[in-house]
Amino acid sequence: MTHAARRRVLPGFGLTMGITVLYLSLVVLIPLATLPATAFTMSWEAFRATISDPRVVASYKLSLGAAFVAAAINAVFGSLVAWTLARYSFPGRRIVDALIDLPFALPTAVAGIVLTTLYAPSGWLGAPLARHGIDVAFTRTGIIVALVFIGLPFVVRTLQPVIEELDPDVEEAATSLGARRMAVLWHVVLPNLLPAWLTGFALAFARAIGEYGSVVFISGNMPMRTEIAPLLIMTKLEQYDYAGATAIALVMLLLSFALLLAINGLQAWTRRRVTG
């Protein structure tokens, strides 16, 4: 059926499209547009001075660096979790499977205070680590722990369905042709998982860069050392430095958009791999 004919039969395109565009504009697009609009009212020198301030640069480096390390940790351990859930049967699999989404469901402030309490020098996990000279809470390690927590479901939930959809016949063929199991995993399974694996990494990375609630409690918030970029935006706002907050935020927003485009590209690649 042609599109024109479909439109004649099904009603409501104009109405629903109108609601969609109007609501999207009012709730998302116009508010977001105020960020570049406000930044344009600043002089280029003032904008540049704000984002090249050593404290701001340190916060960008920390946010990006910690997000990258956390996403890498999730890429490794999340893959093992996804593989375990997709391929192995064990008692309580459904409960464990449901629990993976906890970081989506648990408010970030709750995650923040509970991780801080656990990893504080007197906490359940912090005390034994402190005895071995490892401080977690109020250090960069603590920031990474919080970002691993919130990023975990992205890697698992991106990889798990792809592992489940892998055609066992291909693995079987390779096995019957005499390939050893590890060789099958390396040459047959892994290349097929690569796009989804990168997508999961990118999603976890993107989420971790902007994360605020779970990090502010455990990070200690020392300027130049454990101060993430979203917190610095908050600090500037509390000092009524709207221009400063806007400049820092605009750089982060552009970074997020770049990542969003990259993720869209990766997801298209994943779909081609899975269906094609």
């Binding site: 064990f90 629990l99 309490t117 902007g210 994360e211 908050m234 935020a249």
Partner: protein, 293 residues
């Protein structure tokens, strides 16, 4: 497609399998089980009476009311939007369709702090509209409307992104048949479309609600932290924790922990429903639907 593989020769050697599982379980225990258990452990650390006192305290109840109010406004609005967007994008082809879908996902790509910041830039005293509005007695930022706006923003994409693929997958034939048989627009929607999307819709509502009730960063920026006035539950948790009242903070946090557990259970149940529904429509043969009717 579902469930673990049963073919023995297609699994790894036992040593490898056990190692992978052990690492996965330790990781899950450390990062998911222990934190969730600790929320409730800390909440009851000083006994039931202290727990109860922290929750029935007036500021905590006010925070609970505001959290429920924000979700009760944000979620239905996002449902109306999600269904409208699902219909327009899922059932029709038009130029710019993919761009529109990307724009709908934008709130997920934005840091929560930035989600709050844009409303301060718009409605704050020195904002684009804020000066005029405050002069006319309308206060948005550091007041309840700002909290509701920020909540709508962060929970915006959930319903739409569940509904769009379902609308797309179910196609247009059933609705067209209803129209040809003389059904009006609303009747067609109620009798044909709604039954197809209802589990996906509910799934989106659960996720949107969890985010709406749990949002911290965006709401924190616009709230001004006025106790008993503009505090939601997550903000109240922060205040208590920063006042070194950890037990009370965890008691209030345990309410949000319960919300998380209920969300996870409903999500798991609905996922099975949605999957079953998708499997049915994949193999939908005319005689099967007749015998079912």
């Amino acid at each position: 497609m579902s469930g673990p593989l049963k073919r023995g020769h297609l699994t790894e050697p036992a040593v490898v399998r056990r190692t992978i599982m052990a690492i996965a379980f330790v990781f899950i225990a450390l990062f998911l089980v222990v934190p969730l258990a600790a929320v409730f452990g800390e909440a009851f650390a000083k006994g039931w009476d202290a727990y109860r006192a922290a929750i029935v305290e007036p500021d905590a109840l006010a925070a609970l009311r505001l959290t429920l109010l924000a979700a009760a406004i944000a979620v239905p609005l996002n449902v109306v939007f999600g269904v409208a967007a699902g219909w327009a994008i899922g059932k029709f082809q038009f130029p710019g369709r993919h761009v529109l879908m990307t724009l709908i996902d934008l709130p997920f790509a934005v840091s929560p702090v930035i989600s709050g910041l844009v409303f301060v830039l718009l409605f704050g005293r020195r904002g684009w509209l804020g000066g005029w509005m405050i002069d006319h007695g309308m206060k948005v930022v550091f007041a309840v409307p700002g909290i509701i706006l920020a909540t709508i923003f962060v929970s915006f994409p959930f319903v739409a992104r569940e509904i769009i693929p379902i609308m797309e997958a179910t196609g247009t034939e059933e609705e067209e048949a209803a129209r040809v048989l003389g059904a009006g627009g609303l009747q067609m929607f109620r009798r044909v479309t709604l039954p197809n999307i209802k589990w996906g819709l509910l799934y989106g509502v659960i996720l949107a609600n969890a985010r709406a009730m749990g949002e911290f960063g965006a709401v924190s920026v616009v709230s001004g932290h006025i106790r008993g006035m503009t505090n939601t539950l997550p903000l109240h948790v922060e205040i208590l924790y920063n006042e070194y009242n950890a037990q009370a903070a965890f008691a209030v946090a345990s309410l949000l922990g319960c919300l998380a557990i209920v969300t996870l259970i409903l999500k798991a149940v609905l996922e099975r429903r949605v999957r079953a529904r998708a499997a049915v429509s994949e193999h939908d043969e005319p005689w099967e639907s007749k015998s079912a009717a």
